[in-house]
């Protein structure tokens, strides 16, 4: 029982991180119709900025509060200065543009922070472990689960219960019609892109105490996040939630029972789902 609970919590903690990244990826696709290859790099940027913030201020909570807006602003500026000009092109150009941005950002972080990984200490409150169903479980991972759920609920409330969320959904559904009805579509795009980057930055900042901040963490997470959104359906918020849980579970149990082939299991699950639903669980046919 203790073992099952531990594995379940591990899966949930991983799913929470995946969700923070994939929700933004999916949101950006829904609004901008862009698959943002640079999304993982914003996750990495969040982790490194958290390292800086914690080193300078010694305040973990403050860094968790400050890092997302900074990453979001970087993202919004990049969108407004590059992507904005090529929305009319075939989608491949946007994907490739973000690929170029990913290279620039990844290498810039390398220049600024050097090649070694940077560790971040969790705050005193989240150090050590608690008893969960007879098993000692690290507090920090429980916090990740709580954070993931809180952000999920917040974003869902924003999208479904606020006027701004309504505009965002309208642009996702039919951007030309939304434009005609008076929505400032370019502004919505920039803001959504920035918000998605902020979510990824939050994910990175939250992941740093567990995984450290290291080069290549963005690419690692983006590939997993692609699998998540492909399983869940691109552009679907609920889909990225479901996909995160599935991938989190597949990786956790895979790593335990079949350590050599944990990666394979994730792709096998994806392949299996796509045979029956080529556009993902919640996705719509293009």
């Amino acid at each position: 029982m203790a073992f099952v609970a531990e594995q379940l919590l591990n899966a949930l903690a991983l799913a929470a991180l995946l969700f923070l990244v994939s929700a933004g990826l999916s949101l950006v696709f829904g609004i901008l119709r862009v698959v943002n290859f640079a999304h993982g790099v914003f996750y990495m940027l969040g982790a490194y900025l958290a390292f800086t913030a914690v080193t300078v201020s010694g305040q973990f909570w403050l860094s968790l509060l400050l890092v997302p807006p900074v990453v979001g602003i970087v993202g919004a500026l990049l969108e407004a200065s590059t992507l904005r000009f090529i929305y009319r092109r075939p989608p491949i150009y946007q994907l490739l543009l973000t690929f170029g941005l990913a290279l620039i950002l990844e290498e810039s972080v390398h220049v600024l922070y050097g090649p070694t990984a940077k560790g971040v200490d969790p705050p005193a409150l989240l150090q050590g472990s608690v008893q969960v169903l007879g098993a000692a479980y690290p507090r920090y991972r429980l916090f990740l689960v709580v954070l993931g759920v809180a952000v999920g609920v917040a974003v869902w409330l924003f999208l479904t219960r606020t006027r701004a969320g309504l505009v965002v959904r309208a642009v996702a559904q039919n951007s030309e019609m939304a434009d005609c009805l008076g929505a400032d579509v370019p502004r919505v795009r920039t803001l959504v892109f920035g918000a998605a980057c902020a979510l990824a930055g939050l994910g990175g900042a939250a992941a740093a105490p567990m995984t450290t901040a290291y080069l290549g963490m963005g690419v690692g997470v983006i590939v997993d996040a692609f699998v998540v959104v492909v399983i869940g359906g691109l552009g679907s918020f609920g889909g990225s939630m479901a996909g995160s849980l599935i991938v989190g579970a597949a990786q956790t149990w895979g790593a335990f029972y079949l350590p050599e082939t944990a990666m394979v299991i994730m792709y096998a699950v994806m392949g299996g789902i796509l045979i029956f639903r080529p556009w993902g669980l919640f996705g719509q046919e293009e």
């Binding site: 690929f99 394979v264 045979i275």
Partner: protein, 313 residues
């Protein structure tokens, strides 16, 4: 570029390819071989990307399969190179068939993501299957062997260069014939309007599957040349970075032109070569150059050259 101009350029390019090994220094010649091998890789990607409209984000996997196939055959049996090339291309094509069968169920971005996922899967297999592939160390000491049984040795650098040059030129001609054939026309019809193609009574999936396998086999051929040239095969050559670079080469050169990606690969690798001699952080500049090309030169080098010639004509 008008047809007449293209025809005039072809013999010039061939002559240059023939003369260059006698002009270039040893190091420069090996760079040129690299350019040709990756040019072939980019060209194979253009078959699916430029002519069929299927953007694969996992094309490096087939380059890598070709490299491993040829490396293993050469290490264990030391046959003449053409046998190893065939083995590499065949291995890539055979693995591409089931991947293509799954991936062509989806279109657009989903296709790209599926090919990426399968490529990562193949990368993991190459990484973990230590007994066969040597894991992260890869396979070193791949011999260059001979051209045919009892034939001339390919260890001499110019001989190997000519082998690569001939194969790349023949592949270009083969791909050109392919895209101009009725089959190739069908591919372009699918690219332009798949719904319409289907509503005209043809099933598009068999076409997409076949061209996916052909493109993978050509990528495998490039990889099969790479392994004996560099003397090793490692998981690096299957990594997604190379897939992404392949896309960049195609866009840089000019999508849907075959020759363009060949040129694009050369421009891309030369820029990288030059930048990396000045700074170890060349990726920043490569990324920036690429962003600028995507925004300002959507037709790539060939597209820009075409417009320039047309403006003067």
């Amino acid at each position: 570029m008008t047809l007449a101009r293209t025809r005039a350029l072809a013999p010039a390019a061939l002559a240059a390819l023939a003369i260059l090994p006698w002009v270039l220094a040893r190091h420069q010649l090996s760079i040129l071989v690299d350019l040709l091998i990756f040019g072939l890789f980019a060209m194979s990607l253009d078959l699916i990307m430029g002519y069929t409209g299927m953007v694969s984000f996992g094309h490096a996997a087939y380059f890598g399969l070709g490299a491993y196939g040829s490396a293993l055959v050469l290490i264990h049996f030391e046959p003449p190179i053409p046998v190893a090339l065939l083995a590499g291309a065949l291995l890539a094509g055979v693995v591409a068939a089931p991947v293509g069968w799954f991936s062509t169920r989806a279109t657009g971005i989903y296709f790209a993501m599926l090919t990426l996922a399968f490529a990562q899967l193949l990368y993991t297999v190459a990484y973990k299957w230590r007994d066969l592939t040597g894991g992260s160390d890869g396979i070193a000491g791949v011999p260059k062997t001979t051209l045919f049984w009892g034939g001339p040795s390919l260890a001499e650098r110019r001989t190997f260069y000519y082998l690569v040059a001939v194969i790349v030129v023949l592949s270009l001609l083969a791909c050109r014939a392919l895209v101009r054939s009725p089959f190739g026309r069908a591919l372009q019809a699918i690219r332009e309007n798949e719904h319409r193609f289907v509503s005209l009574g043809r099933d598009s999936r068999p076409f997409k599957l076949v061209v996916f396998v052909i493109a993978a086999a050509f990528a495998g051929l490039a990889g099969a040349l790479f392994a004996p040239f560099r003397g090793f095969a490692s998981p690096e050559v299957m990594f997604w970075v190379l897939s992404g670079q392949g896309l960049m080469m195609v866009i840089t050169g000019g999508i849907g032109t075959l020759v363009g990606p060949l040129i694009g690969a050369m421009v891309f690798l030369l820029v990288q070569e030059i930048l990396s001699s000045y700074t170890e952080h060349w990726m920043i500049f490569t990324g920036a150059v690429f962003v600028l090309i995507v925004i300002f030169l959507p037709g790539g080098v060939v597209g820009a050259a075409r417009r320039w010639f047309e403006a003067r004509a």
